[in-house]
């Protein structure tokens, strides 16, 4: 419980991505508060144009996502009784929108689809609350090919012991899919 009080605020939306083999990962869309955004932009904006170019994006990825790589970038995916470890971040893009640092990236969790349903629970949250993440799971969506049968809904994580360390208002995304 005793952790870091929020120093950074982020609004997060997610899309669960599937391909023909099964679950691929989570598309993350993070929007940070203006103060943190200004600090990070200042550290990366080498040409001082107030925008983030493709050359400047990697240093932002290192500064923001580097320290949280060991925590799966705060994406927690549960299959059965285990939290999956991510295979990494893909398609990282960074931009400034209305003075707010906006990051788009896919956190990779390959889960092959079977003929029977696979149940997955997803939450995006910082258990240390250094980053106060407001994850809008109610508007989470799914991108899947027609051959994949996917059901999903969002609800709070109450009653799931694996998520007991998470704050009570963190919402989870419940998915099930099969071929």
């Amino acid at each position: 419980m005793a952790g870091a009080h929020p120093h950074v605020f982020a609004d997060v939306t997610t899309i669960a991505v599937f391909d023909n083999s099964g679950f691929v990962g989570l598309k993350n869309h993070w929007v940070f508060d203006e103060m943190y955004s200004a600090a990070i932009l200042a550290s990366a904006d080498q040409d001082n144009d107030g925008k983030i170019s493709e050359k400047e994006a990697p240093s932002i990825k290192d500064a923001v996502l580097g320290p949280i790589a060991a925590s799966n970038y705060y994406n927690y995916v549960v299959v059965g009784t285990e939290f999956l470890a991510t295979r990494g971040v893909q398609n990282f893009k960074a931009s400034m929108k209305n003075g707010k640092l906006t990051l788009d990236f896919i956190v990779s969790f390959p889960i092959p689809a079977k003929n029977d349903y696979t149940m997955v629970t997803v939450a995006v949250s910082d258990p240390t609350n250094y980053i106060q993440i407001t994850a809008d799971m109610e508007n989470a969506d799914v991108e899947a090919p027609d051959e994949m049968d996917v059901d999903f809904f969002s609800d709070n994580l109450k009653g799931l012991t694996l998520f007991r360390a998470f704050r009570s208002e963190v919402q989870g995304l419940y998915l099930r899919f099969k071929k």
Binding site: I40, A144, D146
Partner: protein, 313 residues
Amino acid sequence: MKKALVILLVLLVAVAANAAVKKKRFDVGTVSDTVTTTVETPVVAPSEAPKSNFLSVISEAQKTLREKLTSAIAAMKSGEWGAIWKFLFICLVYGMLHALGPGHGKSIVVGYFIARRGRWRQGVALGAGITVTHTLSAVLLLFILYAIFKATVFPAFETGRMGIEKASYILIMLTGLLLVAIAIHDFWKQHKNANSAESPESLPRTAHWREIIGVAAITGIVPCPAVALIVLFCLLNSMVALALLGAFVICIGMTITNVAFGIAAVAFRKGIDFGGRRSRFASIIYNAVTLAGGLLIFTSGLLLFGNLFAGRV
């Protein structure tokens, strides 16, 4: 005939496309259940929204206040200097709320004044000392690094902060252990003296200024990133004086909260001492409370340190 077929085909495709991905409730069971193959349950009303707890309330409040701070600074940047009163007031409230969250030295202050009989002004001193050190280290570290890194300072600040944090939490644990050791040593000495002819009245340990300064230093040394961000934001907007003024007022806000806890701890200890003074078990009570204070500090350090690694998969 052909038209009917086309319409039927379109309908079929629409239904098929819809069938693949559905936002619909299904039976989850417990996480440890094997995968169920139950028929889809009809849409049920979502479970009761979870009530937000104290921590999430003050966190959300800080998010709102930070947005207001940003707009106040923007207003001042474009010349509306009347916004400075709003800015300072928000800084004060932000500081008070921020210090209510975990990790700002409250449990250390409380632990110390349970372990030591202290005077009111010492409670104020420790609460203020931790907070001032906490703010000053953030401002100093930021300014020093800013001189080196200029606008690119923040990642360097974070690296520095994380290193200092680990060291501080370890020192807090050691301090807690030291207090526990002193308490055990006192108890042992009193026990020995009790068996000899003269048993002096067992006086509980009192707070010493040297100890207070030491505890304030190792607890407050961790620079506060929230203060640093607000100071940096002002610096990036070329408002140095405002940066320092803002940090000063945030510090006052945080001090109010920490001092309140310090005074409460002094009062709590006074209550215990007063209630137990005539008891046969007075010395045992004093020793137990002194020990408890040390344990509280040790546990706080341990939890803070452990939390640095929380959330890893």
